[in-house]
Symmetry: C2
Subunit: 305 residues, 2 copies
């Protein structure tokens, strides 16, 4: 099956200026221009954990497998260069499954000019699993790490949060160009992408940075989907709780000095709103302040692996 | 489970001079020295296909997951730099499974000074799957591709072939230093590693190169394990047939001009014998000549995915 699949794929993988040697040899060769450092990340998506093969269209699974990796590169402010893809395919309709996954993945690869450098494909008796590894380059502006936030920094986010499971988790736009723009134009102390939940991921960033955060709860941008989800589940959680804990928002959360935050709020990227949601504190942990001025400790909540 | 595992792993992953930022952020950063091009390869190992979780020690599975990737980098004559690892773990004893896999993998990573740059770990209801992506650098000597052999080139191999399933498929030494030595010291037209079977992989190399090969069948170095396997299976296949088709030998097969072949045979690497097994021909396809001088077409045989 793999031979037939590779033949099918060879006609569809676009040539890429950085791909000196593509699939077909023992490994791919990427032209590495300049002395840029290399950023590498990998994400594994598995059936019944990250998608449900019975209901999720395979094209969307393929798109997501790439998009989560692009979101990780964005979280480092790295320029995407290439990916490799491992597919563990159930034997039934293995070729069709592989083709549908690539049909979802390839348009996103083209959109970001990412070289599809290679992969490995196994048929087996297990469920569907997809592992994508993405390679990027550090730009002249530098990287975006989690550990540089300091007390007094303002905390800004792109986009809206919560209710991603209703659709966005499959269709989100990784914030690659936004991250590159922000890193280039502003002094940013720390940043990451929100995959496991806004409060949990922000807590991780604060912990790595050795500080804490106070959130202006009324300022958290809540997605319509979070309201919808809260309503459809009889408000077991409020929309705000969904926004703080659902995860798979794949938005950026960044910490930057107040003057730089003001500048960014005045000159946001064209593609997505940027909102100030709080600031970094000397005191570790997360605190929330509601619109009556009440301050309370927030438990970091989200998806723990 | 992943949080606990990452904590366990952080204490065990050695620091590495090229690893500017290791596991824990959204992605790893590798220092990319010089303007070397980047070589990337990925291999997926799955339960019941590449190993049997009931009988194969998990440390050996982990070692193999890295070793097959190092063999691919060797096949390109690339210097290993870093790896990332995706693990799909059955829920039962997931942490212990992950630890045993890494305990097999880490010593080999240290042996080759490969940075363990990151990974992703999912628990699920499926069987065990491991995907490793390896990143290497092209050296000043250049890469080793499959498509450069020409008629008249001599065909040389490292080591012995056949019967790998009796043990070598888990314990083999990837021919990294041998490939770097050979590429640096000799003019080599083409090369690859033998993973699917000597005759099948050589056929692929010849096809990519636009030529064929004639093998001196009496010269093929047959492993003791191939004799053993032939005997234990009542000679359904001869030892030579095992050597030509078993695969997972992870030896190098290379094509080089006659004078360079002579030089290499006179100055082989210290670690492994090098044997001349035939030469490249204008005529496509594979032919074998036995010790009576009889010439017959050989069907490429091996593991087809």
């Amino acid at each position: 099956m793999e031979t037939e699949f590779v033949r099918w794929l060879r006609d569809r993988v676009p040539t890429h200026s950085s791909l000196l040697l593509g699939p077909g040899d023992d490994a791919a060769i990427l032209q590495w221009q300049h002395d840029a450092n290399c950023v590498v990340t990998t994400d594994l998506l598995t059936d019944q954990v990250d998608f449900d093969v019975q209901v999720t269209p395979l094209e969307k699974v393929g798109r997501k497998a790439l998009a989560v990796n692009l979101s990780d590169l964005a979280a480092m402010a790295a320029k995407p260069v290439a990916i490799v893809i491992s597919l563990a395919l159930p034997r039934h309709q293995a070729l069709k499954t592989a083709q549908q996954i690539y049909e979802g993945l390839l348009p996103l690869a083209s959109e970001w000019a990412v070289a599809v450098a290679g992969g490995d494909t196994n048929c087996w008796n297990g469920p569907l699993a997809i592992s994508v590894t993405a390679i990027g380059q550090v730009t002249a502006a530098g990287v975006l790490r989690r550990d540089g936030a300091v007390a007094g920094d303002q905390i800004l986010v792109t986009g809206e949060f919560g209710g991603s499971i209703l659709g966005k988790h499959l269709d989100f736009n990784p914030r690659v160009s936004e991250a590159l723009y922000i890193r280039k134009q502003f002094e940013v102390h720390a940043g990451m992408d929100v995959s496991d939940g806004l409060s949990l991921d922000l807590f991780r960033m604060m912990t790595e940075s050795g500080c804490g955060a106070e959130l202006d709860l009324a300022a958290i941008p809540i997605a319509d989907a979070a309201h919808e989800l809260a309503k459809s589940t009889d408000f077991v959680k409020t929309p705000l709780q969904h926004a703080l804990a659902d995860g798979e928002d794949f938005e950026l959360v960044i910490a930057l000095p107040p003057a730089e935050a003001e500048r960014l709020l005045a000159q946001p990227p064209d593609s997505v709103p940027v909102t100030r949601i709080g600031h970094c504190t000397e005191q570790p942990g997360l605190y929330g302040v509601d619109d009556s001025g009440q301050r309370a400790k927030l438990s970091p909540a989200g998806y723990t692996h």
